[in-house]
């Protein structure tokens, strides 16, 4: 399996040794390069995801989606981005200017922040703390703030209603999300994301296999809660266009709206990516304990595994989104507090019991 840390180490030595830079200079240059890479990766993925969503949703709906701009509509999203960039940005009269401008940045910051935690390959995790899982949940909570501030600052009744809904919903679902993550921590004994993935290499070592029943349930709960956390259907009532026009971003135009749009899709990717990392082994290839097969699987680079698995989860979430009607706000809360919360607590207990008695599934 290719270890990306070889590249990063070589580059670090290049800066320090060959170019003779000190700690500050080397880390600065590295940070800039990594930051750029993340932002570019973010933008590219957003474009891919938006295009994918348009095509997938079209196919579910007996349509063919965009086909005019570029071959098979491939340039459609670029055209849309261009349009959004050159649109006028206007502020609503009597809006709270500072908060109004601040809100999209909070949302996009939270989104990029969580995005940086994803382990792309062996040795290619950008942010990799020993309390990684905690930090992910902490940073993702900033997004709620952005949504809430946007709704409040817009000076629009629909937006306020939507912001209230969004805040209530996202804060509630963070609980299930967090508990599912903790159950994974119990199983792997680490909070470091690279450690969690590392624990999933080897035959049948993905957490969903290792932790069998509780992990499978955890994966499902995580997907549902994550979908709600990303504000996507059937939980998209914060931007329920048939009730609240566009909800909290009704009053945003141009790139202000663009940020919300980007963040929405990237949150989808981040949620799928986290689900992949925690439950489906991240970049770890599927190994079944037969040497020839495992070697072949290991030959495929980790990033392909990671992206492949993540896009499968993304497709799953899109399938759900484009099938179900939207819930009402009290029903969303009922679902969380009456069904998902107890279930995730049960998962937590089950997982602890499994780990304590060594009932996990391991071939070693």
């Amino acid at each position: 399996m290719f270890d990306f840390s070889i590249v990063t180490r070589w580059f670090d030595e290049l800066l320090r040794g060959t170019l003779g830079l000190g700690d500050f200079g080397a880390i600065l240059i590295e940070c800039v390069i990594v930051g750029l890479a993340i932002i570019i990766g973010y933008a590219v993925l957003a474009i891919i995801l938006i295009f994918m969503e348009r095509k997938v949703c079209a196919y579910f709906q007996c349509r063919i989606g965009p086909v005019r701009v570029g071959w098979w509509g491939t340039l459609q999203v670029f055209a849309d981005v261009l349009k959004m960039l050159i649109k006028e940005i206007f502020v609503v009269d009597k809006a709270d200017k500072l908060l109004y401008y601040l809100a999209p940045f909070l949302v996009i910051t939270a989104s990029i922040g969580t995005f940086s935690f994803l382990p792309w390959n062996k040795g290619a995790a950008v942010l990799d703390f020993n309390v990684g899982i905690f930090l992910v949940t902490a940073i993702s909570s900033i997004g709620v703030l952005g949504v809430f501030i946007a709704g409040w600052a817009s000076n629009n009744k629909y937006s306020v209603l939507s912001a209230m809904r969004a805040a209530v919903q996202m804060i509630s679902y963070e609980l299930s999300l967090g508990i599912c993550l903790i159950s994974a921590v119990i199983l792997t004994n680490t909070m470091q994301i690279s450690g969690i993935v590392e624990a999933q290499t080897g035959p049948w070592q993905w957490l969903i296999f290792q932790g069998h029943i509780p992990a499978t349930l955890g994966f499902l709960v995580f997907c549902i809660a994550g979908n709600a956390e990303a504000n996507r259907g059937p939980f998209d009532l914060a931007e329920a266009e048939s009730e609240l026009t566009a909800g909290y971003h009704t009053e945003y135009s141009g790139m202000g709206f663009g940020f919300y749009y980007l963040a929405e899709y990237l949150n989808l990717f981040v949620i799928s990516g986290l689900a992949t990392t925690i439950f489906l082994g991240g970049w770890a290839p599927i190994n079944i304990g037969i040497e020839g097969f495992d070697a072949l699987m290991n030959y495929i680079p980790g990033i392909v595994w990671f992206l492949g698995k993540t896009f499968v989860v993304v497709f799953l979430l899109m399938w759900i989104r484009w099938t179900f009607p939207r819930l009402r706000v009290d029903q969303i809360l009922k679902l969380e507090w009456k069904y998902l919360m107890p279930l995730s607590l049960v998962i937590l207990v089950l997982m602890t019991v499994c780990v304590a008695f060594g009932w996990t599934f391991t071939i070693a």
Partner: protein, 177 residues
């Protein structure tokens, strides 16, 4: 609901309906699509009903003569004042009879609401609606048409007068060729 299901029974039946929904959408994911690609298919697979009311035209025989005698019935029938007819009395040099002759038949398509009352009112079978629907222009004045001056020879599309491509209930002409 009278027979309250148990907590778990409720969840079970709920999941069943959700699964049915997911199954249906997945089935549709692979069924033929319904998008007809209009500008691309306009000369190939487009079907337009023959009776569709696209615009008003004069009926003409082989030698391009029309039947209109400027009786003004259509002008009076029109609720919107779409039709303006000017005519004069002419004396036939052979028979010496006076006869009304059409000078100008002005039809303003921009005002027309395609109600077919003019066609119903006509006693001489002089006008009809065709299904030629591509009437968009950049200037409203171009929508004012003088039917007596224009010799209508079918619209912008071939075969459109006969309805264009074939069509069947339950299918869409999704191909463009």
């Amino acid at each position: 609901m009278e027979n309250k299901e148990s907590y778990f029974g409720e969840i079970g039946s709920a999941f069943k309906t959700l699964a049915t929904g997911l199954k249906t959408t997945m089935k549709e994911y692979f069924t033929p699509k319904s998008t007809e690609q209009y500008p691309e298919n306009r000369k190939t697979t487009l079907h337009v009903a023959q009776r569709h009311r696209g615009r008003l035209v004069f009926k003409r025989d082989e030698s391009e003569n029309y039947n209109c005698v400027a009786c003004l019935m259509c002008e009076k029938a029109c609720p919107n004042g779409t039709i303006r007819i000017t005519s004069e009395m002419r004396t036939d040099p052979e028979t010496g009879k006076k006869k009304r002759a059409l000078l100008n038949y002005q039809y303003d398509m921009g005002d027309c609401m395609f109600c077919q009352l003019c066609v119903n009112a006509c006693n001489f079978d002089a006008i009809e609606f065709t299904n030629d629907f591509e009437n968009a222009v950049f200037d409203r004045s171009q929508l004012v048409i003088h039917l007596n001056e224009e010799v209508y020879k079918g619209g912008s599309l071939p075969n459109i007068i006969d309805g264009g491509a074939d069509w069947q209930v339950g299918t869409f002409n999704t191909k463009t060729k």
